[in-house]
């Protein structure tokens, strides 16, 4: 039986991709940003998932204004890197897991989560930056091929309204139920990406709220139910207009169940316009109720 064993979150800042692609990760500005992933690279290499369910947002790459799915699942065998204006990133194609993805799509729909099925799409920095920071080589360069299969879950956080935190949480629970009903024995990770505080537009651009971000990271283990019920307006006021991406972390958190252990954390300001946040969580088995 397939099982979700770990949750991981990371920002997916495009400047990280640019530095990797230009071989500039050793510069003083970037060194601490990449160093915070060293622990994760080693840990994940030693506990390699068979599949990563990667929750991210498409930044007007696969989806333009013509079609705006709130939740979409990539069911293809392979995804190509998108051309976001600089030419496609020189990274390998991302291998999918079509059978498990279709299984999740069908199970979620029967579970009253009507997710959009995508059979062809290119993936942008929102998906490839997380793969790079976790699966990158020791010198931070991109590997010749990705070491695991990836199921992209794209969430609309661009055109308002995005889904509520509560809805994201419930999707995470539905995904976990779907994974657990897949017969093959697979080690599955679920990653939530984007965030943390950042505003990329207007006179308020550059907003960073370290205190708010830190409490959000703490509460992923301490009080996740509080996070589930945060209204959108709080993300916008406190963490900047693009801080809303953090609702995607709640899909990851909802999928892990009640008991999790924090294994690793990395928080760094600034990374370009953004507060970079990264955390690794291990799902613990629910406590067994002794038989009477």
């Amino acid at each position: 039986m397939a099982r979700i064993t770990h949750g991981l979150t990371t920002s997916h800042i495009p400047a990280i991709a640019a530095m990797i692609d230009q071989g500039r990760t050793g510069e003083d500005y970037w060194k601490p940003i990449f160093a915070g992933y060293d622990w994760t690279k080693q840990y994940v290499a030693a506990n390699m998932p068979d599949v990563v369910i990667l929750v991210y947002n498409d930044h007007a790459s696969a989806f333009d204004m013509k079609v705006i799915p709130t939740f979409a699942i990539g069911c293809a065998d392979e995804f190509q890197p998108a051309d976001e204006g600089w030419g496609p990133r020189p990274v390998p194609p991302v291998p999918g897991h079509s059978d498990l993805a279709w299984h999740i799509a069908q199970s979620c729909i029967l579970d009253e989560f009507d997710i959009t099925i995508i059979n062809e799409m290119d993936v942008d920095h929102g998906l490839t930056v997380p793969l790079d920071v976790v699966f990158g080589n020791k010198d931070n360069s991109t590997p010749a091929k990705w070491p695991t299969r990836v199921i992209p879950i794209a969430v609309n956080v661009v055109t308002y309204p995005p889904p509520s935190g509560n809805r994201c949480w419930m999707l995470g629970e539905a995904i976990a139920r779907a994974v657990e009903s897949y017969p093959e024995d697979l080690n599955v990770h679920i990653w939530g990406t984007g965030g943390m505080s950042h505003q990329l537009q207007g006179p308020r651009a550059g907003l960073i709220n370290k205190e708010w971000d830190k409490r959000f990271l703490d509460d992923l283990t301490r009080d996740p139910q509080r996070l589930r019920h945060l209204p959108h307006i709080e993300y916008l006021r406190e963490t900047g207009s693009e801080g809303i991406e953090m609702v995607m972390w709640l899909i990851m958190r909802g999928a892990l169940g009640e008991n999790v252990t924090e294994l690793h954390r990395h928080y760094h300001v600034p990374c370009s316009n953004t507060a970079l946040g990264h955390i690794v969580l291990k799902k613990e088995e629910d406590e067994l109720v002794p038989a009477e």
């Binding site: 333009d64 204004m65 204006g85 309204p161 505003q199 207007g202 006179p203 406190e238 507060a275």
Partner: protein
């Protein structure tokens, strides 16, 4: 079911107008900026980037955009583009075509110079103090 946000769309949208220096990409803005954003998306193809850079005005005239939106693009005035319904992730195709970084494009909307904005970010970014709410001034 737990109520986590206003379920009334008018109440939900009204709150966004209270955030200083911010234009949330609501339905009104998405409708107004439809062709501006689709123009920006067209720059995801190398041949379109070349054609645009060779003759920006002619390329823009192929799109049913308002003259205000076209002028904002020609001037690379990102605040004006957002006023015309542009969204920053769509507009990122334009500044990427210009080989401008996200940091410099975002900073260009703040009234600060590139160096001042970079220095603010290094010092920890813009504080949320005083820019959370127009009404409450906090």
């Amino acid at each position: 079911m737990t109520k986590t946000m206003p379920r009334d769309v008018h109440a939900y949208l009204a709150e966004f107008e209270d955030i200083p220096g911010t234009r949330v990409f609501t339905a009104n803005r998405a409708r107004k900026g439809y062709h501006l954003n689709q123009f920006a998306m067209s720059l995801m193809k190398a041949e379109n980037r070349e054609r645009f850079l060779a003759d920006e005005r002619t390329y823009l005239d192929e799109w049913p955009m308002t003259e205000e939106a076209k002028q904002a693009v020609l001037k690379r005035d990102y605040n004006a583009m957002i006023d015309e319904g542009g969204n920053i992730y769509f507009l990122s195709k334009l500044f990427s075509t210009d080989r401008q970084s996200f940091q410099d494009a975002a900073g260009s909307m703040t009234g600060m110079t590139k160096d001042e904005y970079a220095a603010m970010m290094i010092a920890g970014g813009r504080s949320p103090e005083g820019v959370r709410s127009k009404k409450e001034g906090k």
